[in-house]
């Protein structure tokens, strides 16, 4: 497995660039992962979404449905895609330190 470096932290990532140990996630890691998903600047709105995803994952062990995400954060569907052009499954989940979603994505 490849290693991902952000500052002085080094983490294992899978071949698709998702980190393998969600508990070692930090905001610095998130910022660095965001760059790999084409998001160079994480605004407060980005952080709100990323923190929501992370908390949901830590609680339930899966990524939330996009419906839950929009309902709980108040973001519109299109806003999510504007913030993370690669989409919530790959872009936002990766930044939030979730493992790669399963299935055809």
């Amino acid at each position: 497995m490849a290693m991902f470096k952000a500052g002085d932290i080094e983490l294992e990532i899978d071949e698709d660039g998702f980190i393998q140990e969600p508990d070692k996630w930090t905001e610095g890691i998130a910022t660095a992962l965001a760059v790999t998903e084409g998001v160079d600047d994480l605004t407060d709105r980005h952080w709100k979404l990323v923190r929501y995803l992370r908390e949901y994952y830590l609680k339930f062990g899966v990524a939330p449905m996009i419906r839950k995400l929009c309902k709980d954060t108040g973001f519109k569907l299109n806003e999510v895609y504007e913030m993370f052009p690669t989409g919530p499954a790959k872009g936002a989940c990766k930044v939030a330190g979730l493992p790669k979603p399963t299935g055809c994505v």
């Binding site: 071949e15 698709d16 899966v62 309902k71 499954a89 399963t102 055809c104």
Partner: protein, 580 residues
Amino acid sequence: MQAQERSYKSQKVIDRMAKKLNRQIAGSLAACVHCGNCTDSCHYVLANPGDPTYAPAYKADRIRRIFKRHFDWTGGVLPWWVKAGSVFTDQELEELKDVAFGKCTNCRRCSLNCPMGVDFAVVNRMTRGLLVSVGVMPAGVAVVSKDQWEIGNQMGVLKEDYVETIQWMSDELVEALGEPAAAIAIDKPGCEIMYTINPREAKYDPRTISDAAKIFHAAGESWTMPSEGWDMTNFGLFSGDDDLGGVVARRVYEKAIELGAKRVVMSECGHGYRSTRCEGPNWAGMDVPFPMESSVVTMLRYINEGRIKVDKTRNTTPVTYHDSCNNARSCGMFEEPREVLNLVVTDFREMYPNRAENYCCTGGGGAMSMSEYTPQRLKSAKVKADQLRATGAKVVVTSCHNCVDGLVDLIRHYKLDMKVTQLVNLVSDALVIEKRAAVPVTEIAAALVLAGRRILVVDDEPDVRTFLTAMLEDNGATVFAAADGNECLALARKERPDLITLDLSMPGMDGGKVFEAIRKDPELAKVRVCIITGKPELRKLIYERDVTPPEGYLDKPVSEETLLTNVRRILEITGEHKAH
């Protein structure tokens, strides 16, 4: 000589292989003459020219040797001559896994190009199935299969979450259109259509659900989405597990029967289409009493029958079309998506090779769920990247969710400036919403739809001129005909037609130059042009000219239905092209 001891799993694989050897598989295992034709047809080989282990014949030999050793008489008589062999250890099964799952997407391009009729993809799928039966598979395949077995869909979406998502899309659509009748009905009995989707639409990107709902509503369709049996994808196709395939397909069929739906329509998903429509009845051992179709076919029908109206000038970005292996190569759906594209975008450019010969998106066969093979997948995607780049298009359209993800991944990896979308999005964008129920089909046929229209037919072949003229005149148009470019320009200036149908390969001035001359003549600014050519490969040359692209582009031979639909749509487009 003491016989080598065989592991329990290896023995099981050999035992089960006996039951899997149907005529197609046995034929494919026996018939290979190692001619090498398959080699050049595989994108893995083309992207890794120095590595013979990617060659389809080489990959097939990993399982063929076992067949020769245990099931074919040649292996009993001359084992060394036919390279017969066997599996003994669990490690060898792991190596087989890396071939069957990691070095082939089951796209069947090699199968199509085999002079001996060897279908390597069925052999590879059987190999996957044998390995899965002893628990040897990539972790991603295991997780997804488990969700499909237990929860009923490949992303483990719970029923209440799914229903809430559909209601959400329904509410937003009703609000956007200001039309309560646009609501999505769940589990409504006795509908014409039960609409099934790919779970990624519900879980991550439901915009395709609302786009489809908008189209159904505009068409005045009687349709419903089921609360169960809504996942038409099927990991049984990827894992080679026919039992899983049967269970998943059966859920869709049984729900449609329960609801009394007259037809099942599947959203744009290649492997789902193939699994549910083509393979599923066999896996499930069921006679399916209703027709099943791709939403691409449904949308085309709506446009052809006049049930929805589309305005292609809303989609002007250059697009190309990627044929999914399952839709096109395995199920023969080539022309329908192109017919839809001709009606909903102004600038469609063919990709080469295309249709049955198109290259894999490189994410097929479940590859998107197997991270361990991502680096070799992306490396092999160079072939696809080159193919995409050569089109000059900014958008690639595909009727497959799996291809969407495969293409998005490689576009990012190879830094192509392209977006990926599906037909449902383009049709929805082009949709002209009118107040309910469009004109019934019978009335359209009765009226002379082209009455009052002036059309100039340009083609150097008299038969084609006669054919096109007859069809257009029968529908009420006043038709003029020209046999070459000069005659075309002279007649156009004299008669001022509403539309010119233009052939490209003509003696004298070729169609491309004629087209440009029409566009650059300010007197002909209102004339619309529909190219009708036997050389679709010239498409790019037309679209790359520095003038407004043609309003239509049809490939010969053209059917009466396609011609009339396109001519009618083109004439509905108002406005002048930009003067250059």
